[in-house]
């Protein structure tokens, strides 16, 4: 019995060891996003609270905590309250399988990549629940838009994952990283990396695909009726999801925790730091796109997902499989 208890306590300890840095990182990443966005537009961005404005997110969080939570009279109360909780939880539980180095991973499960994919496809429920339970026009429209958008782009992300899996021969995330020791998958699968990046933008409802919350049309989409800490939870969940997509991209294509060159000065850097650097690089790309590109029209968005990305990635699956088969490079016999 005490043995079981010990296991339980160490697991909980590990979970907190992972969760607290991630929550802090999410807060910092919001600041970074606003900073990058501002620099592209020749503004200063948040620079008042703390050094370089680093504590801006902290101040925002304090503000959200002390604001009143308003629940609309006609809302479906249970689902209205559940929606931000679902978004936040789903954004955080997927971090359990992300490997930060060869032995620094909370749950090294056999179907890691499927788990990530499943959890990110569940993310749509937080948005639908929030939009429906608000019982108001704008949130509902936003929820329906985002559901259609996320379901469409999941398809192409799934097919891209198949591309990578063909080269690896395992669904385990650690195996996926170790398979890239000689060559990162971004080199042979570069077009897939581009499509993955754009689909990840659409999957996380980032600009230029932020139609679910297009402020010019739908006020704030599914978040319109939310206030106080519940709004902040939606917000944190969204950014945690973006970070997750960045880490998924760096694990699938950029070699995870591996250093770019296996030489002396690079090997001194600890493995988790490489993964963090790659995630940051992808995230800065995300926020650059937000600052540069105008919003897509909805039919263009659907056309891009179904008529361009899906056929392209399917063709690439056929190409990859044929290449591996012809040159006898298949990882599993």
């Amino acid at each position: 019995m005490t043995e079981n208890l010990n296991i339980l306590i160490t697991e909980i300890y590990k979970i907190f060891l992972l969760l607290i840095p991630i929550l802090t990182a999410v807060a910092m990443i919001v600041w970074l996003d606003r900073r990058v966005w501002a620099f592209v537009q020749k503004r200063k961005g948040p620079n008042v609270v703390g050094p370089f404005g680093l504590f801006q997110s902290l101040a925002d969080a304090l503000k959200y905590i002390f604001k009143e939570i308003i629940i609309p009279a006609s809302a479906n109360k249970i689902i209205f309250i559940l929606a931000p909780i679902v978004t936040m939880t789903l954004a955080l539980i997927s971090w359990a399988v992300i490997p930060f180095s060869e032995d620094f991973v909370l749950a090294d499960i056999n179907v890691g990549i499927l788990y990530l994919f499943a959890v990110s496809s569940l993310g749509v429920y937080g948005i639908i629940m929030g939009g429906w339970a608000s019982n108001s026009k704008y949130p509902f429209l936003g929820a329906i838009r985002s559901a259609a958008q996320m379901v469409s782009y999941e398809v192409s992300i799934g097919v891209i994952i198949i591309n990578v899996l063909l080269c690896v021969g395992s669904l385990n995330l650690t195996d996926i990283v170790l398979a890239q020791e000689n060559l990162w998958f971004i080199v042979p699968l570069f077009p897939m990396f581009v499509i993955f990046f754009i689909s990840a933008l659409a999957e996380t409802n980032r600009p230029p695909f932020d139609l679910p919350e297009a402020e010019a049309e739908l006020v704030a989409g599914y978040q319109t009726e939310y206030s106080g800490m519940m709004y902040a939870m939606f917000w944190l969940g969204e950014y945690a999801n973006i970070l997750l997509m960045c880490s998924m991209g760096s694990i699938l294509f950029l070699g995870g925790w591996l250093s770019p060159i296996d030489l002396y000065p690079f090997t001194l850097v600890p493995a988790p730091l490489w993964l963090i650097l790659k995630i940051l690089l992808l995230f800065i790309l995300f926020s650059l796109v937000k600052a540069i590109v105008p919003r897509y029209r909805y039919d263009q968005l659907m056309k891009l997902g179904w008529k361009i990305f899906l056929p392209l990635s399917l063709t690439w699956v056929v190409l990859t499989a044929s290449y591996l088969f012809y040159f006898n490079l298949l990882p599993v016999n």
């Binding site: 689902i79 179907v111 496809s121 569940l122 379901v151």
Partner: protein, 211 residues
């Protein structure tokens, strides 16, 4: 082991409870949410018995795609009209015997299968000719069986799905007239002399614009 059974009972209680709530719940959207909860707990049970691939695929296919469409359809319906017409109404209660019959048949089948598995395990092994290799992951194992022994059935089910998909598109597709479509190719390949025209409008007549 004790933790294992505690988790099993937690998941199965949630699964049974949500399965009952799917039918009992008055609000249709709530029933769909309970259905989703049921799917999730069932996939947790799958993972607990070591079938992690099936559990994850269930989560991706049913919860990530099918239930979203359910939710779509149900949210569009007028939910308030359907209250209180279910069990209490005499006109609608003639489906109860059929429902009882079907659930009775399913229950009987389950008892046969579970009883056979519990008391004569060697009988079930004689049905399947393939030996299961426990040293590799079950994803590999499913792949090996699915793409060798059952490749024709696998192709056939893919064909059935393809035909169903084409059928659904044919049934719902309608060509709409008079809508303006955007053609990137035509937009980009437009030249100045096609697009700009110098006109000399007369007074009180203006220019004719073709749409």
């Amino acid at each position: 082991m004790i933790i294992h059974s505690i988790f099993f009972y937690i998941f199965s209680i949630i699964a049974v409870f949500s399965a009952i709530m799917v039918t009992v719940s008055r609000n249709t959207v709530h029933s769909v949410f309970f259905l989703i909860l049921d799917f999730i707990t069932i996939s947790c049970l799958f993972i607990m018995i070591g079938a992690e691939f099936i559990g994850m695929i269930m989560l991706i296919v049913y919860v990530g795609a099918v239930a979203v469409l359910f939710l779509f359809v149900v949210m569009m319906l007028n939910v308030s009209k359907q209250k209180n017409e279910w069990l209490g109404n005499e006109k609608n209660s003639n489906h109860i015997p059929i429902g009882l019959l079907i659930s009775g048949v399913i229950f009987f089948e389950l008892i046969i299968v579970v009883g056979g598995w519990k008391y004569k395990p060697e009988l079930l092994k004689s049905f399947s000719s393939i030996g299961i290799d426990t040293s590799t992951t079950n994803t590999h194992e499913i792949g090996k069986v699915l793409y060798t022994d059952y490749i024709h059935l696998f192709h056939l089910s893919g064909m059935v799905l393809l035909v169903a998909m084409i059928g659904a598109i044919v049934l719902t597709f309608r060509q709409r007239e008079g809508i303006k479509r955007q053609s990137y190719f035509r937009q980009i390949s437009r030249e100045r002399n096609e697009a700009v025209e110098l006109a000399d409008p007369k007074n009180n007549e203006g220019v004719k614009i073709d749409v």
